[in-house]
Amino acid sequence: MSGDCDKCEEMMQPFIDGVLSDAEVREAEEHLERCAWCAKRYRFEERLRHYVRVAVSEPMPPELKAKLAALRTEL
């Protein structure tokens, strides 16, 4: 772990959100290639986002779906 790791940690969220500039993405990627410690934490974060999304997803109750369909305009 080094000062570069602190910088890399700061860039993690915007990196995953895809809002970094090309130069910043390159900077993060160069660090991640050299630093397994940060690379693991980036992988964890990406998996965590997906894991959370799946964990909190509840299918719509079929009765609600039927109610919504009934709101359609009669032709």
Partner: protein, 197 residues
């Protein structure tokens, strides 16, 4: 004043409008699973989420002419939904506690804590992730205060872009970014508290 039958042009216009309306309703209904998924986490309970989605579709179908074809229909529906949610006067919640964990600890702290609790040398990230149960994730998200949770749910669960979330919630994009940053920290702090020991 003539009381003649509607002209051919009028008939054609009405038929055109009826088709546009049907198309709008079909497109909106196709998005209902995604709308519900977001609504379920914005609302406090399943019942509230169901009411909100139903009211949203009632309002959307009434005001369908206000939708600009070619723009983001899912965002338009969520805009109606979040407004209804706010109008309902969401249950008051305690103000977010400012803990050192969510403001000072960096973004790696959740991983660091979970890894330390995972047996074995240098466990892979999948095993580390398994310290979090599904129930604990649902609870941890529900415990994020509303203002932060709205943004978090739209961006991280609904997969809306920052700009769409800003439009849906009618707040500046900078506010979306700062609430998202803080909201993710709070979620992680909540997850860290609930991790399987």
């Amino acid at each position: 004043m003539s009381d003649s039958a509607p002209s051919t042009a009028d008939t054609r216009r009405l038929a055109e409008e009826a088709r546009a309306r049907v198309r709008f309703e079909e497109e909106a209904l196709e998005l209902s699973d995604q709308v519900y998924r977001v609504a379920r986490r914005l609302a406090g309970s399943r019942e509230e989420a169901e009411d909100l989605v139903q009211q949203t579709y009632e309002r959307a179908f009434r005001s369908w002419r206000q939708f600009t074809p070619g723009t983001n229909l899912r965002a338009w529906l969520l805009r109606i939904l979040t407004n209804l949610n706010i109008d309902r006067g969401r249950r008051s919640q305690r103000a977010p506690q400012t803990t050192s964990l969510d403001t000072e600890a960096g973004d790696y702290f959740l991983y660091n804590q979970l890894e330390a609790q995972t047996p074995g040398e240098n466990p892979d990230e999948e095993r580390v992730l398994e310290r979090l149960s599904q129930d604990s994730i649902v609870e941890a998200l529900a415990d994020v205060p509303h203002d932060f949770r709205d943004v978090l749910v739209l961006v991280d669960i609904g997969e809306f872009a920052y700009a769409d979330a800003a439009q849906i919630l009618d707040i500046p994009i900078g506010t979306v970014m700062s609430r998202l940053h803080r909201g993710r920290r709070i979620l992680k702090a909540n997850l860290a508290e609930r991790a399987v020991a």
